[in-house]
């Protein structure tokens, strides 16, 4: 853990070498997701609710998704950039160092400028928490926390899967963005609004609904089933097959010539 923080301070130092660029990235990140927020705001100005969810409830959903995704993008950026690590030969360097591969990929790149999005998510959350009309008892706070942690897990798993695939092909990796960026965009609204099919896909194939839709039902009082609180933990099990796939890819690794 101490080593992790050393890596972090190293990366922060590196990124601070280009201060202007860094702060422009932070502001840019903030603005990009702010337009999304504005879009939602204008829409709810006309219609009062979506699939029975109020503006504040949807905002809660949006903020949580953004929070989890930006945190993952910030800290698991190494997996997101994994094809570049392979191409540049950085992975070879990682493999000749006596530390875990996962650990080193995580520390190969931490994108602090994602803090812009993160800050926005916090702001929206700060607005949505008091206005959502939810009574914040202990179990509700736990639900919200687990939703965030679960989101972190599922998004990280998707990134790891993406990295695993890039061992086999660099071409056509874009389609993975449907799942990563797609889940984020879909996740702005409670997943039930997309219909049964999408909800099932996002429950059983890519378990996004497990940390978003179902716990939200409990959070907003639509369901009293306390089991829903812990569904995000179940969703995190998605990490296991993704990790195994990554290991499988690593064994097949061909390296690049020099």
């Amino acid at each position: 853990m101490k080593l992790y923080f050393r890596y972090l301070s190293m990366l922060l130092k590196s990124q601070m070498q280009y201060k202007a660029s860094f702060f422009m990235m932070v502001v840019g990140q903030f603005l990009v997701s702010f337009t999304t927020f504005l879009g939602m705001w204008f829409m709810f100005d006309r219609i009062q609710s979506v699939d029975g969810f109020t503006f504040s409830e949807v905002l809660l959903c949006f903020a949580l998704m953004l929070l989890a995704f930006s945190a993952t993008e910030c800290f698991a950026r190494g997996f997101d950039r994994f094809p570049a690590l392979i191409r540049s030969g950085e992975l070879d360097r990682i493999l000749v160092r006596p530390r875990g591969v996962i650990f080193q990929v995580l520390t190969a790149n931490v994108e602090f400028s994602r803090m812009g999005r993160f800050a926005q998510a916090i702001l929206v959350l700060a607005y949505a928490i008091p206005t959502s009309g939810i009574v914040w008892t202990g179990d509700k706070i736990l639900t919200l926390t687990l939703m965030f942690v679960g989101g972190l897990g599922v998004f990280t798993a998707l990134f790891v899967l993406y990295a695993g695939i890039s061992f086999f092909t660099i071409e056509g990796l874009e389609f993975m963005n449907i799942f990563t960026d797609g889940s984020r965009e879909f996740g702005r609204y409670p997943l039930s609004i997309y219909g049964e099919g999408v909800l099932k896909f996002l429950t059983y194939v890519i378990p996004v609904a497990l940390f978003q839709y179902y716990p939200l039902l409990y959070l907003t009082g639509r369901s009293q089933n306390q089991g829903l609180i812990f569904l995000p933990v179940l969703g995190m099990l998605f990490l296991i097959p993704c990790y195994l796939f990554f290991r499988f890819g690593l064994r097949k690794y061909q390296s690049t010539g020099s």
């Binding site: 101490k2 080593l3 050393r6 890596y7 190293m10 130092k13 590196s14 990124q15 070498q17 280009y18 540049s88 030969g89 950085e90 070879d92 360097r93 493999l95 000749v96 160092r97 006596p98 530390r99 875990g100 071409e171 056509g172 064994r251 690794y253 061909q254 390296s255 010539g257 020099s258």
Partner: protein, 324 residues
Amino acid sequence: MIELKNIRKTFRVAKRNAGLKAAAKALFRKEYTEIHALQDVSFKINDGEMIGYIGPNGAGKSSTIKIMSGVLTPDSGECLINGRVPWKERAAHVQEIGVVFGQRSQLWWDVPVIDSFELIRDIYRVPEEKYRKNLEDLTELLDIGEIVKTPARQLSLGQRMRCEIAASLLHDPRILFLDEPTIGLDAVSKIAVRDFVKTINREKGTTVILTTHDMQDIEALTERILLIGKGKILLDGSLEQLKSRKSTHRTLTVDYVGERLPLLPEMQVKKDLDGHAEIVLDTEKLSISDAIAHISAAAEVKDISVAGENIDDLVVSLYKEFAL
């Protein structure tokens, strides 16, 4: 102790023709070519040896280094380094080796080199005392005391390479892999790097395995040479053995007064201009002393020198011999 036995490695490479149509086709069906990077590579290296690993581009040098450093897993064969199989006990294995990839950096680009060194110290869990001592020795030997406070991206190639080498030795590895360490360096830096490698091999007994295209590196550093071509070890022997294999040819360089040098039929003229001639002769047909006697009798010689076949030529002729 390094031991490789019957190592094989085959790569599958997607191939497709040029052009948009072919690219579109490749989306649906891929054709693969198999490249046999290594076919049956075996050798043994003892502790403290200094090995020159040579061969043309694409011969399998880097693949071998990557297998020995635990990056690649071979398809079949055995590899035992200090009693370990590199790709099975990767973490324990790499703790004892240092690797310098000449064309890739292990330093963090935007921070002072010394920061990189400290992070590497933590990655390899080098005790503080040992780190201090190693750092002191390395900065002195490589003369990098001044430049370690500079960010890596601002260093010249020569300065950076010296820092790279220092970085790969901070944890006292028993084996050092140098993959083209002098590529692109100026003469002064090359010599500095060579001297350093020699010192570290002599004083610490570090086993050094060096791949290079620079034959002067080989000449200056290594006693033993492994020649690889098309995935096979073609030659394993000393530089002297290598030289004696091929060098019945000698080049005579003569400076003389006069118009033209009268020659014997066994002499081949490479050039003869303004009183400066270079002549190649086969010592099996004409001995050097006979040649010199003939030349000095025929012209007024100012200077004369004999050179063995250049090592570059030697390697080229070896490559030709094995039809690489």
